[in-house]
Every structure is written in C-alpha cells, then in structure tokens.
Symmetry: C2
Subunit: 561 residues, 2 copies
C-alpha cells in the first residue's frame, strides 16, 4: 500500500476546532479509522430556524467497513449529540462503540427520542480499561469535568503515544467525584507522549478553575439564608451540580421538585446508574408544592440560559401551570451564560426581579464553575505530559492560539505546536508533525426539523432576507389573447409594512405593475415572461425602497389565462 510507505498517522478534526462544540476527530492509519466523539453545537445567530449544527461526515462516505470503532469521552451533547443524525451514515452491524457507564446511559436515553434509529450496542469502559481497535491501543483515564465518568484517552498508535485530555479541569476537591489523580497522569507521561491533544476552551482565562467544593460552599450560604422557596436553574447535564442541590436540600430539610423533561429524565437515569443519590421521599411533583411551607421547597429545573421552552423562562413569563414567582423566593442561576444568550438571560432575570424574587447569578458570587482547565492548569498538564508535539483542541480559533502560547510558556517550541482547523489533515510521525495542504470537507451540516443538511446557504440567505424586510408577492393574471391584465393584481405581503396603513403605496404598485406588463405584451413581439418578471422585481423593488427604505423580497407571479 502506498499509504503505508508514508508512515504517517492522520488526525482529522471534523469539528470542535475553531468553534465550541461539534467535537469529532478521526485517527486514520493505513486507511483504517478510529472515531472519537460525535458532538453537536447550537447554530449561529444568522441561522434562523436551524436547530443544531453537526459535523460533515462526507470523508467517511462509503467507508463504513474502514471504521474500527467509535469512542466517546463523556456524556455532554457537544461530544455525543450528533449520534442520531450521523451514526446512520457510518453505520454497519457490529460497529464497536465504547463509553463509560454514565455516557452510555445518556446516549441510550437520548436514542429513545429517535425511535427509527438502530439499537446501539455500547461497550462499557472505565478508568484504566484498555481496548484494542486495529492498530490503536486505547487506555481510558478518568479526568475531572463537571459531569462524572469523563474519560481522557491514552492512545498507543503505530507512530507513538497520544494523550487526548477530553474536556477537563484539575479539581483537588471535587464534589460527587474523585480528585484528579496526578500520580496516574505522571505514570502515563512516563511512557512518553508523542502528541498531546488538550482542551482549549478556557485557555484565554487566567489562573485556575474553581473547585466544586467552593461552589458548594457558596450554594450552601444561599440555602442557609433563604426563608422562602429556592428555585435553581442549571443545565440538566451538570450532574454534579444537580447532586449538590439535592444534597443541600436534604440537609436543609427541603423537598425537591424536579421540573423539565430533560432534568427529570437525567436525574432518573443517573439514580438508576448510581450517579445521583437521594433519599426516599426527597422528590415531590409540582402539584405537591403547596402542601409544604416555602422554606421546605427547592425547585430544580432547566433554563438558566434563557431557553424559551425551558422551565425557568416559563415561570418568569407566568406561563407555568403550577409555579409562580412570589416575594421571598430565591432564584439561583447556577450556570454560566453561553455567548449569544446574554440578552435573553437579562430579560428573564429582570422579569423575575419584577415579580419580587431575589436573584443569585454567577457574576454576583461563585455559584457556578465551568468544567474547563484555565491557563495555569493547562500549563501544568503540558508540563506533566512533556509531549514532543502539541495540538490544542476544543475551542474557538482565538482559544487555540492562546493555548499554543501557553504551551510555549510551558517550554514547548513553536515549531512543535500545530494550530489546526476543522478539516485539516494533521500528519504525525515520530519525528514530524505537519498539516497537509489538502483539506477534507468540514463545513457545518445544519439540522432543521427532520432535515439533515438540506438547509443550505440559499435557504438560509432567503430566511435572513425575509427576516429583515419581509416579502412582497405580486400576482398578475394576463389574458393570453389580448395581453391585457385581467383584474387588479393581487398583492400578498408579510413582514414588510402594515398593509392597511399603506393603501396608497399598494395602489401605485398595482398601477406600475400593470404598466410594466402591458408595455411588454403590447409591443407586438413575442412575449418574454421572464423579462417581464425581472422588470417587475427590479422596478417595484426600487419603488418600494424609495417609499420605505426597505428591501422586501419581491416575488412576481404571472398567470396567463
């Protein structure tokens, strides 16, 4: 084989580089491929109607037989969320899939929402488990994050050893999890790391991440001081935070009402698997809240990001059937705000304050910690691993650049660091790392409803245009024989102006349209309908712009009868 003679391992990130989310990486040796993670991310603001973005798997088309297996690092959607959309494209019976017990539980739980999907067989792996997939020998390494059962990957490949950190932070005093095992990391490092692939999400943040213990302490202050109900909103995937709230509630004699489909589902699943512990009788339903005094109630739900369908927003907008904000309530936002959601969260916070509750959010006190190592931890990881080469992963381009600067501060040479983008082919040998000039397709695949990838640039551009100034359809019925317009043209417009207040402009538009059509049909030459349509589009577009300084999408329809 030609490929073999090159003796390079190819690492191909299909997502997660130059963005936060959508993590998916291929490791290819002699045409055989190991896949790590299949994540999704939220769309950009200029992608109206799009539900999610997932990686482009065109490179894997027709290569199902070459895929050695899929390994998942942890159960967050930016690492597992694309499974229902992509797995069918690379599926073959007996495709080996590996995940820790909790990650597996979350994946299988989600699959229930996609009944047409194949039943997945997922092998459970644990800290220190070892598996062999073709030329790759993988040893799993427990790493701290804000979800339990997160596994880094020590990959022995034909060219050398690779350490993939997964998302991680160093936490000496975690809650509901073991502290970072630095001995273990050092022992791995002693086996020589050719390439370190490390989480860059917080590379632009100075210092160290907060320990979960500190968060717990601050949350406890709120529990101590609150005499009314405590309403906590967080991500349903923040299993450790959820455990903290449950434990505090039990300590302070509060029942816990879980609200929201994903919150209830995750807690239930985690209790079955043993990742969340709660006493019998701790949980109550929202209908039972009134049976207890406010000081005996914790409400735990989703929506700290201002998601429009989530519990907290429904409560804030007074749309929740049983739960209304009251004076004396304490509302705790225990999650950071994802860039882009600040405005919505602000509006929600304001609504809650207007209804008389106190609001606690992470900017006021440390009641949320991210799951990602900050600058000093990242340097520590590099110093422990002492890799020959370094590839920052997981993060916006500016984060990858910042991480590569940290690597230099930690003593690495610039030429041994590669800042790559999605679709790059990173060639790795014991002596060399470099990017191929060629790239594989790695653009966004948009999920909208049932469609995977059928919303493209054209549809999106139309949506943006429609959103901005609306649309304006003009329907002209023309008599085939006389070339005359039969009745006054119909106009359908939405999102442009309030039509009832624009009657004069519409009348003028009709007149102009008739003139355009009859000038052309009356010319004696053969009628060029597409020319007429262009004329209507241009001239009426200009006329409307002149009157309003807006550019609705003008769509002429000419019907001959």
């Amino acid at each position: 084989m030609i490929r073999q003679s090159k003796k390079f391992l190819k690492i191909i990130p299909l997502g997660g580089l130059g963005e936060v989310g959508r993590n998916m990486t291929l490791f290819e040796w002699e045409g055989k491929i190991l896949i790590v993670d299949m994540g999704l991310r939220m769309p950009e603001e200029d992608m109206p109607g799009v539900d999610y973005l997932v990686p482009n798997t065109e490179y894997l088309k027709g290569r199902a037989k070459d895929i050695l297996g899929v390994v998942f690092t942890h159960g967050h959607y930016d690492h597992i969320g694309a499974i229902p959309y992509l797995l069918g494209r690379i599926w073959r019976p007996n495709l080996p899939i590996f995940a820790s017990p909790l990650t597996r539980g979350i994946i299988l739980k989600r699959q229930e929402d996609f009944p047409e999907q194949p039943v997945l067989k997922i092998y459970q792996v644990y800290d220190k488990s070892r598996i062999q997939l073709g030329p790759f020998r993988i040893e799993f390494v427990r790493m701290n994050h804000n979800i339990p059962d997160n596994l880094g990957l020590f990959i022995e490949s034909p060219v050398g050893n690779i350490f993939h950190t997964s998302d991680f932070k160093f936490d000496k005093t975690p809650v509901n999890d073991l502290p970072t095992d630095f001995e273990r990391l050092r022992s791995i490092a002693s086996r020589k790391i050719l390439l370190l692939m490390s989480d860059s999400t917080d590379a632009e943040e100075e210092g160290h991440s907060l320990s979960e213990k500190k968060i717990l302490k601050n949350l406890e202050e709120i529990f101590k001081a609150s005499k009314g109900r405590i309403i906590v909103a967080t991500f349903s995937s923040l299993i450790n935070r959820i455990q903290q709230i449950i434990s505090l509630s039990e300590k302070y004699h509060r029942r816990v009402c879980l609200e929201g489909y994903s919150m209830r589902g995750n807690v239930e699943m985690c209790r079955v698997l043993g990742y969340i512990k709660a006493r019998k009788g701790t949980f109550i339903s929202s209908r039972q809240i009134e049976r207890f005094s406010p000081s005996q109630i914790t409400i735990l739900g989703t929506g700290a990001q201002g998601e429009s369908e989530a519990v907290l927003m429904r409560i804030a907008l007074k749309e929740h059937p049983y739960i209304k904000i009251r004076k004396g309530d304490s509302v705790v936002f225990s999650s950071s705000v994802i860039p882009g959601n600040e405005r919505t969260v602000q509006i929600m916070k304001d609504e809650i304050l207007k209804q008389g509750a106190r609001v606690f959010h992470y900017k006021m006190m440390d009641i949320h910690a991210g799951g990602h190592a900050k600058a000093e931890e990242l340097k520590k990881m590099i110093r422990i691993m002492k890799p020959k080469f370094f590839l920052p992963i997981h993060g916006q381009y500016s984060m990858l650049v910042a991480h590569s600067q940290l690597a230099q501060e930690a003593g690495m040479k610039d030429k041994n660091i590669v800042v790559a983008e999605n679709g790059d082919i990173i060639n790795l040998s014991p002596r060399k790392i470099y990017l191929e000039k060629k790239k594989v397709p790695a653009n966004y695949i948009m999920i909208d409803g049932l469609g995977v990838g059928d919303v493209g640039q054209v549809v999106l551009r139309d949506r943006q245009m429609l959103a901005k100034d609306g649309m304006f359809v003009i329907i002209v019925v023309v008599d085939k024989e006389t070339g005359k317009v039969r009745t006054s043209p119909d106009i359908i417009s939405r999102g442009f102006v309030y039509l009832r207040e624009s009657k004069r402009m519409l009348m003028e538009t009709r007149k102009k349209t008739i003139a355009i059509v009859e000038r052309a049909t009356g010319s004696g030459r053969a009628v060029n309908w597409s020319y007429i349509k262009d004329e209507i589009r241009n001239k009426i577009g200009k006329f409307l712009f002149q009157k309003t300084q807006r550019r609705p999408m003008v769509l002429p329809v000419v019907i001959e009868v």
Copy 2:
C-alpha cells in the same frame, strides 16, 4: 388649576429604565414640561430588520406649547440619537434646546444626515451655566464620563432640588478631561438634595471603574512593543480614547489613518471645536499607508463590536479596498462588547488571528474602561449628595435593583427609594415620593428605514416566522363556471426547503390543493372562498410539517377566472 393643588412634581421616564439606552425623561409641573435627553437604543435580537428603538412620545402629542425646553446631558446616541425621529413630533418654532459645545456639535453633525429636518438652534451651556425654564432653574455640573463635555443637572424645582448625574464615573486621573471636582459636588449637596437620580449602568459591578490613565498606560505598552502596524478599533463616540490613540501615535512616530465615516466625521468636528488635538501631518489617507513602513502606521477605525458595515469587519473579511491584515500587525479592540455582540466579535477576532495578526482585547488587559461608576463610586455619590429620595436611572431592571441595594448600604431607607419603569409617573413632593397607578405609553417605537413606529407587533411576528421556516405561497386558478382548477397550482417558496430536491413533496402538495378546492367548489353550495383558503392553509401546513417538521408560513391565493 386642579393640578396645582396637588403640589406634586411629576417625573416621567419615557425610556432608559429597565433597559440600557433610549434615555428620555420628562419633568412636569402644572402641565409644563422639561425634557432631558432623547436617546435611541439598538433593537433586540428578535426584531429583525429594525434599525433602532426610540421612546414613545404619545404623552406629548399636541402639547408642543407646554414644552419648556429640551436639555441634553452629553453627546452619546443613547442620549441624543432619537432627535431626528422624535423632535418633529414635539417641534415648535423657538423651542429652546440646550447642550454643551461638544454635544451640540455632535447633534448638528448628525442632523446633516437628515436634510428634511428643521434647522436646530441649540444654546450652548457649560459647567456652572445656569438657565431658567419655567419653574425649573437648572445649573450644569461637569461630570466625568468617556466623552468630554458631559453635564449633570442640578435642578431647582418648586418641590425641591433634584440632582441628575447624567452618565458618570469618578475619575481622579482622566485623560483629555479634568478630574472630578468633588468640592463642587459637595457644595451642591450642601444646598440640599430632595431627589438624586443616578446612573445605574454598572451598579452590578463591584469596586471602582478604571481610570483612563491606567488605560493609556496599557495602550502605551502595546505601542512600545509593536514593530508592525497598529490597528485600533473603538467607538467613534469615545472621543477621549481616540485622543489617546492619536497622542500615542505621535509620541511613537506613527501616522494615523482614520477609517470609517463616523470616525472621520467625529474627529474632524472635534478638532474644529478643540476637543481633539493633533499635529499637522499626523493624519494620512488609506492610500498613503504604503508610503510608510509598518512601524510608522496606526489605523484607527470603528467596528470593535463586530458591526457588519464597520471598518474592522471589512478588513477582517478581506473586503477593504486598501487595508489587508498582515503578519506583524497588532489589532487592538478598545471597547467593551455590548451584550448580544459577543459571537460576532469572536468570529471577527478569529478571522484576524487566522490572517496572522496579534489581537489585544479588553479581557486580556485593561485597554478599555467603561464610562460608568461602579458600586463603590455609586455609594460615594449617594453619600456625598445625601438625598432624601433616590431614583436609580439608566439601566436594566436588575441594575436598578442593584443600585437601590447600594443606596441602602449607603444608609438610605428602603421606603425613600423608588425603582420605577418606563412610563411610570413618579410623584414628588418635599415629603413624599410615590408611583401613580396610571402609566403613560412607553413601549418601543421601532425605526425601520423611513418608518417611525410603522413596524408593529404583527409585522415583527411575521418576520420572525418567515425567518424560522420561510414561506410557502400556493396559487390556484379556478374556472368560475366549472369550479375546476385550471392548471397545476403555482408554488412559490423561500427559506423553507431546497425546492429542487423536494419535487415529490411539491407534487403531492399540488394534488392535495386541487382536491381541497374541487371538493368545495363541487359541493353544489355557494362557494366559500375564505373557507377554502383556511382549508389549504391548515391541511397543507400539516402536510408540510409532517414531511419536514417545519412550519413555513402557508399563504393560499385563489384566483377565479
């Protein structure tokens, strides 16, 4: 007069409370009204196509003769930007308008963009100027902000003295401005303050705001270290920052290329008025850049917020005719990021990094300071003024609440603090402050192109719907006599699916539409066209949803011939 007997001064905020921007406040005594500021703000994310939001002035309708005058505190658009849209609605010849020289210059400069506006006569006022407007005696008080010539208002009213801080911060070492005159503030306080109205924008931020001197020092570090070009993006209204960049450029032997319409316009105007000082020969045009070595060039433009039309974005996207990013360039984002713009700024930053420049932004080092007092300064203001009553102004509801908590920490009683919203009528007498139950209209007035307020909830909802899943127009031509559909229905769809790949669905849609129409027209009864349209809308809507899980706006058109 009945009003007089009540002996209450009415303070009516039409904007700026419960939001950032759109500041406008009325002071009414015996039916005579003083207006302070007329600002705009940017639209929310769910308001596509809307350019600005301005205050609702319905309360002033038909009352031009009652308006005593308009006073502007400073030249930022959130305080003056609504003038071209609203002044016409309250205009009368000889309406007295007052502003500091720079504020006046900015207002008049902007009016040039609105040639149909009346020529404004604006009286210049200065620190310590006094004017009398009906029952109100106003004394102007210089306050630090991030634009020069910012004036707080000491208003002697029939019920007592009011101090309105304008936007402010305390700066002991400002640049291009005098330090805060605490003696003056104390002397004003000694005249007894009945009501303090104070800027809440940074009430949620702990500690003190940064001094401009500190910013200058950090910017100078960049100038010292940079060997390539320095590209600085900031707001064109941050006059003091602009002066800093010009002075540093001169000190480090760099020419300054000003880029962007508003940047050039503001600098020119400020130089004429003496607010910006630059040596002869400092400025060059973008075409002259290549005549100098990179270490001799500063480019100063707008766009640190990622505004799509601004200079920095055009450079980042390689759309600028003369300026391209090169390795060695240093790009400085000297402005904070307005909530909602984070994603766009991140994308722009990443693009610039990919092109090889270094990026400096305010999160990495203090190269931007806001213009607003933080918690400790706000408490200091309250302690200096010792007001009887307190009304937090300028800010989201959460900021007003935080500011009212600060007032309590500074020793004020809860009952003497009023947290109000736009449209509230705040009644003030020497012994009492309270909100009337009645409110005046204070909803958003949306500016879109030439329209002021003609985009309402209906148009906006349509735009949101169109953005999400697009639209789907079905045109059916029906024979009047037979009731049969004449030709296969026309379908026009945009923003929904890629039509070429959905031929089968469209065919089925046409068939279903024909069936719906002919079932109704063939019934023998009189044809109910609006029923037929509803049927098409509902049934085709359902069908399309079932096929795609999307809900385009379905618009049926039935034409009888």
